[in-house]
Symmetry: C2
């Protein structure tokens, strides 16, 4: 994991994902120079004090000048504007990649701006936490996780190879997928789970019969797991839903149909139907553990009594 | 935490919850004698080799004879049959409690069998993991968690006090609540979250467009959190839904209404509505952390790259 992959890397956006890339690249010497760009001066200063790069600027065009590999790490709704801003400064032969959670829309936004002689190789590392910003990143974020690479048809193979080698060096497993299929897969493995987590936390917060303080105190029965997901960055997730609308609505439709059937089973007292579903679902978790994507430890290995010492807050 | 609370404790059922009680009681000397009962000989043998009690039997009536406190730790659908079985052997002055996840139905099932002179004090420790059986328990399961005590109207105060002292000694915070309100609160903090987790894992498993292997490999985007909940014991959860039908259907109705609105916001591209909800939901997690019910560590403190070492399983 310690060979240089590119001479000059430019990171456009230095939040959770951008800063995690910066950390692993610098730890393992994967680039000769890391140029860090971010929109706001305060984020840039934070990146500088965390020593995330070799050069720092708020000007995206400045950052990408002479870069061999540019990785755009901003909310997916900003991809088009970023591509437009960097286009004039890209050198011939450069590779532009990204980390956005949706792919069809990112390609539609970026491709029109990419100059001839520059290769667009979109990618999506499936790794993250509920925190954001440059402080939230860490070098091991991508270790043992998957990074999906979704080159538009006809993309130069050598560019795809370089992006693949880059992510492998960052510790990830890689796979190639069409942008459309990516968006469908992620709708069910990520986008709809986030949507329903946000939704149930919203429902709980608005109830009149149950106070917010009751919801918070008695959350250990399962609800608190959902609140982790529903504490994710609002801008990033707004952009995801606006930019993967069709696949999300399609998968949400399936979810709702199945939920209606489950509701009916409860109404009718059909214990066998419930037992049957509750048995089938266990195989999926076993599979995830076998694929090395999850810990086997109960409760995610969360320490017993997780949280501050016992107290009665009222 | 080291004072004896009762002379003779009987545990009816010795799975995750029963065995966790046994462990903390024996570690901290909270009872003079722990009588362990379970239905199947193989579970009883397991409990014996784990040294969970002072005496062992598969006969519930035998176990409760002379007990000062009986705690029923079986799936809620079995509460009535257990109450009927132990009733003739209960001594005058005994307290019968339980740990079931639903309360109105448990009281309806058990109360008719409780002999005069015996006090029924139902309770529900809000603590658990996705694992079950006597091996899954641990002494610290209840530490810093809440235990709700739901005495039917007119219950003898001294009996409620003893159960409160017992759970406090087990490390829990306690609160008194009516059985109806308990069932409403738990519907939203536990039962509906489990239902939608089971549901989305079921939906994902049945898709034709996305293979099960894709679902498993690319689950780190959020889905894998749901699979933990959906790996919980099928019998326990079937019984919960059959025994808290009304509150679950009510809360599920609210969830579905809110989800319809969210779906519409996505369809219409209403980014402000999405952003607004995604911002409000963060306050609930902050509250849970402030109430000491959750770790602040990102990703539940799950270690980066959680799972087995990187491998490409195909
Ligand atoms: N978080 C995850 O779990 C995760 C996982 C995989 C992929 N992704 C994808 O990774 C990308 C970045 O996510 P993140 O979690 O790293 O976000 P983050 O921590 O919030 O950081 C966002 C970065 O983008 C910049 N930015 C925000 N809005 C911008 C705009 N309108 N124009 C230009 N720059 C803008 C921010 O700059 P300032 O701070 O200077 O404003 C910051 O540098 C997103 O596309 C997301 O879909 C996220
Ligand atoms: N798991 C949680 O997260 C959690 C949290 C709070 C409360 N609870 C409540 O605690 C209770 C026990 O749950 P658990 O997780 O400890 O379950 P568990 O680990 O599956 O253990 C269940 C115990 O009940 C016995 N049992 C099962 N079916 C029975 C029947 N029909 N009649 C008599 N005994 C029967 C089992 O005996 P054999 O093994 O001998 O068959 C075993 O001893 C349930 O009411 C549940 O709602 C659970």
């Amino acid at each position: 994991m310690a060979d240089k992959i590119v001479d000059r890397l430019a990171l456009i956006g230095i939040g959770l994902i951008g800063s995690s890339i910066a950390r692993v690249v610098r730890r393992d010497g994967l680039a000769g120079h890391v140029a860090v760009q971010t929109r706001r001066p305060e984020t840039l200063e934070r990146a500088r004090s965390l020593d995330l790069g070799d050069s720092y600027t708020t000007d995206a065009a400045d950052a990408v000048r002479d870069a061999d590999l540019v990785i755009v790490c901003v909310p997916v709704g900003a991809s088009g504007a970023v591509a437009e801003a960097i286009a004039p400064a890209l050198k011939t032969g450069a590779i532009v990649s990204d980390v956005g959670s949706t792919k069809t829309s990112v390609i539609a936004q970026m491709a029109p701006h990419i100059p001839p002689g520059v290769r667009l190789v979109p990618a999506h590392p499936i790794a993250g936490t509920e925190h954001s910003g440059p402080d939230a990143g860490f070098a091991d974020l991508f270790r043992n996780r998957w990074c999906l690479i979704t080159p538009p048809e006809g993309t130069d193979e050598t560019a795809v190879d370089l992006v693949t080698r880059f992510w492998t060096a960052c510790g990830a497993n890689t796979d190639i997928m069409t942008p459309d299929h990516h968006d469908m897969v992620l709708a069910i493995t990520s986008h709809v789970p986030h949507l329903i987590a946000y939704n149930i936390v919203g429902t709980a917060a608005e109830l009149e019969e149950v106070t917010n303080s009751e919801v918070m105190k008695f959350s250990a029965g399962g609800f608190r797991d959902f609140t982790r997901i529903a504490a994710s960055d609002p801008t990033m997730w707004r952009d995801v839903f606006l930019n993967n609308r069709e696949a999300v609505l399609e998968m949400l439709g399936r979810f709702t149909e199945d939920l209606t059937a489950l509701q009916r089973a409860i109404r009718w007292g059909d214990g066998d139907a419930l037992f049957d579903l509750f048995t089938r679902t266990r195989a999926i978790r076993r599979g995830i553990i076998e694929y090395g994507q999850e810990t086997e430890a109960p409760d995610f290995g969360r320490s017993p009594g997780a949280g501050k010492p016992a107290q009665k807050p009222e």
